[in-house]
Symmetry: C2
Subunit: 203 residues, 2 copies
Amino acid sequence: MSLIVTIGREFGSGGRELGRRLSEELGIAYYDQEILKEIAEKTSLSENYVREIIEKRPFASYPIHIGRTMHPMGNPIMDQTALIYQQQSETITELAEKSDCVIVGRCADYILREKNPLRIFVYADMEYKIKRCKDRAQEGEQLTDKELEKMIKTVDKNRARYYDFYTGNDWGDRRNYDICINTTNISIKDCAHALAQLIKTFA
Amino acid sequence: MSLIVTIGREFGSGGRELGRRLSEELGIAYYDQEILKEIAEKTSLSENYVREIIEKRPFASYPIHIGRTMHPMGNPIMDQTALIYQQQSETITELAEKSDCVIVGRCADYILREKNPLRIFVYADMEYKIKRCKDRAQEGEQLTDKELEKMIKTVDKNRARYYDFYTGNDWGDRRNYDICINTTNISIKDCAHALAQLIKTFA
């Protein structure tokens, strides 16, 4: 049986690092930014634009206005958004069919639900996330704690909105995951081995 | 530093079995029913009555009516409820001070919050919980799936109400825990070793 691990994560929680380390521990492929590149190629949109749509674009008015839109020819930005989600689904499905893998973000847990992925959600206390963002900031990119907190909340709000919109589920609600792990009091490096062993015990 | 593991769990998820197996893997004490016995002794109430209060009694009217109660001498049942919670807190604190341990349920994560316990929440899909309850039912105690589902929901509703009332937090909300684990697709016996290793990596 194939092993597909999906990682949902709060911004600044270290979910991406944990995903990468898990893929190393499990000896399987790791997909994150590669998915954006692939979608950009397939849609002829720029990678930055694809990222913008997936990670930052609000969707609130889409489901309400559809069918009674003021644009009888369709809304071109919303068409692109739907196109990107469709390409994302196809790309993620293709990657998961190619080999065992870890996939970070992008509703992969939902897109691959028929393949029974092992669904992980990574989160942490706000204080920890702020510290982690600060430690990783480039020179000249230093934000205050308050600015970082605002940024973290905005990113996660958009992630939740995107996820909820496409899946109909609640982003970060434990019931949608197999393991939820709080990274506030762990070293991600140290826990990856044990977590990989735990993953192997799932059917 | 001491190792205290607290287990919150949905009824039928196998949280109690997981707690017991974790204590064996970690070589530390395990407390569950012992706490009820201890409280019963200290309060001179029967163990069944203590269990009834902790696991089944609804609390809805307590915080609303207090201060404008129709019982100017106090409400004796509510006094007993508060007494039991106080004894529970004392007992759990004493046990945690005696040695490293796993404690199941009873708001232990909150009561021991200053000792930084490793807080686990165990849950599962309804179908799994029904099956697990059926497999463990005594002869003559067989309920239908529908009856079991109703029973599971009632027990968990009471647990949530009790927890939320005394802690001010949301029972089962991942943010109150370090690890949330869904037992639907695992063998509890097989995962306990890896989970114990994962616990050891927490600070």
